[in-house]
């Protein structure tokens, strides 16, 4: 009975047995339960419901409750409830959403990013299509993106359609889509990506030749070429090292010197004044100067000075020489640094060995890589 379609009646009246007999002669009755003396509940087939209702009224019965039963009835009831609620909710949503733009369609973009254009419109303009001025959107897009030569914006339904015509720019403007490559070994300390795809992240240690920014981006699954453009700050390290021996032999000038003079014509000696000398160790300094100012007769005076040297044994501890060594090491590191932008940090390390000490000096420089606007 439950699976079949039926109707349950709850009736109130007298002589129920007699009248049930009368009804049963015409229609089968199911699940008859006597609730109280005057009240009974029974089920009938839905096909006979109308006639039974009429018969009950004729027999002066009061129908207290009438309930539809069966799987199909229940299904229809549930479906009805869902259909009605879905209809009501969708009507409310359609009514609420109708003044708003829910979809953005960008057409004709090649080098521009679709998501970038959409986010620009979303950030700067209202979603209410009645308040949105499409002319101002066109103007703003034209101003914002240099690549755009023509743009039209229309609203159709809940969709904002942007039609873009890009300028035909020569490839050299885009630098033929070269990646940004690091020229130095160092550590990445800051990244501001403008266009392209980052190959590194803040805190990465990189080598010279490593790619920092790739010249493409992923636009919803489509790889698009674009000029690699980013502002990247890096720390690079300039090092120098000096080895200090506590006992060493240095060559020192004794103070004795002798000068040999030669006169040269076309670099051939035509006069020489050479002294014999008995220096065991010496060093020379040579000085050349023109004797005549014109070039007709290129006479030159070559003067060679010989300085006598002697070996001196020096004993100097590292602590005594530390300040001097630090200065020397720093100068050496600065020579390695070349044109230094910003010195962030400097430090040194000392490595003592049995007979000598090594002093390492490091200058940490911060440099800007990529396309910084000066």
């Amino acid at each position: 009975m439950f699976l079949k379609n039926g109707i349950q009646f709850k009736i109130k009246g007298l002589n129920q047995e007699k009248n049930l007999n009368i009804l049963a002669k015409k229609f089968p009755i199911y699940d008859i339960v006597r609730v109280s003396k005057n009240c009974a509940v029974f089920k009938v087939n839905i096909m006979h419901a109308k006639k039974i209702r009429k018969a009950l009224i004729d027999l002066n019965y009061e129908i207290i409750e009438e309930k539809k039963l069966g799987a199909i009835s229940m299904l229809l009831r549930v479906v009805n409830v869902y259909i009605i609620s879905a209809f009501v909710i969708s009507s409310i949503l359609i009514f609420a959403q109708s003044p708003y733009i829910w979809q953005y369609e960008i057409l004709g973009e090649e080098n521009l990013s679709k998501t970038e254009v959409v986010s620009f419109i979303k950030d700067n303009f209202t979603k209410n299509k009645y308040k949105l001025n499409t002319k101002s959107v066109e103007g703003a897009l034209y101003k914002e993106y240099e690549e755009i030569s023509f743009v039209s914006v229309i609203v159709r339904g809940q969709t904002l359609i942007v039609n873009i015509k890009e300028k035909l720019l020569p490839e050299e403007i885009y630098g033929e889509f070269e990646p940004i490559i690091s020229e130095y070994d160092g550590k990445v300390t800051g990244i501001n990506l403008i266009s392209g795809t980052m190959a590194v992240k803040t805190g990465d240690y990189i080598k010279a030749g490593d790619v920092l920014v790739y010249p493409y981006y992923d636009d919803a699954g489509t790889i698009k070429k674009v000029m690699a453009n980013a502002e990247i700050t890096m720390e690079i390290y300039h090092t120098s090292s000096i080895t200090h021996f506590e006992d060493r032999i240095e060559l020192v000038r004794t103070g004795r010197s002798s000068v040999n003079t030669e006169v040269l014509l076309f670099n051939l000696p035509i006069y020489s004044n050479i002294y014999e000398m008995d220096y065991k160790l010496y060093e020379t300094e040579t000085n050349e100067q023109n004797l005549i100012n014109n070039n007709i007769l290129p006479l030159k005076l070559k003067r060679t000075t010989y300085y006598e040297l002697e070996e001196v044994k020096i004993h100097e501890t590292f602590e005594e020489a530390k300040d001097r060594l630090l200065k020397e090491a720093r100068e050496k590191a600065l020579i390695n640094a070349g044109d230094c932008d910003i010195i962030v940090d400097e430090y040194y390390t000392v490595e003592p060995f049995e007979t000598y000490t090594v002093l390492n000096y490091c200058i940490v420089e911060e440099i800007k890589v990529g396309t910084y606007e000066d």
Binding site: Q16, E17, K18, L20, N21, A24, K25, P28, I29, Y30, D31, I32, V33, R34, A40, F42
Partner: protein, 83 residues
């Protein structure tokens, strides 16, 4: 003379003159050939049969089905008595 159509008519309009009662495990009582319900309550169901009356006593009794000739009584049946 043998009346064929009369015989068929007699057979098709055949009323159940007798009654049959089948009791299934004191849970369901099936009755064929009843002549009408007399008393219906959760403790007692009584109905007429040819030449008498039958009373069914029990607990939680109700009529599972009631037609012109048949009825099914369901519930916890304690006693069935014929008068």
């Amino acid at each position: 003379m043998f009346n064929f159509f009369g015989e068929v008519k007699k057979h098709t309009n055949l009323k159940v003159d007798e009654f049959h009662i089948i009791n299934i495990s004191n849970k369901l009582l099936y009755v064929e050939g009843h002549k009408g319900l007399v008393i219906l309550s959760s403790e007692l169901v009584a109905f007429k049969v040819k030449n008498g009356r039958i009373e069914v006593e029990g607990r939680g009794l109700y009529l599972k089905e009631l037609t012109e000739n048949t009825l099914k009584i369901s519930g916890d049946i304690k006693r069935v008595e014929c008068f």
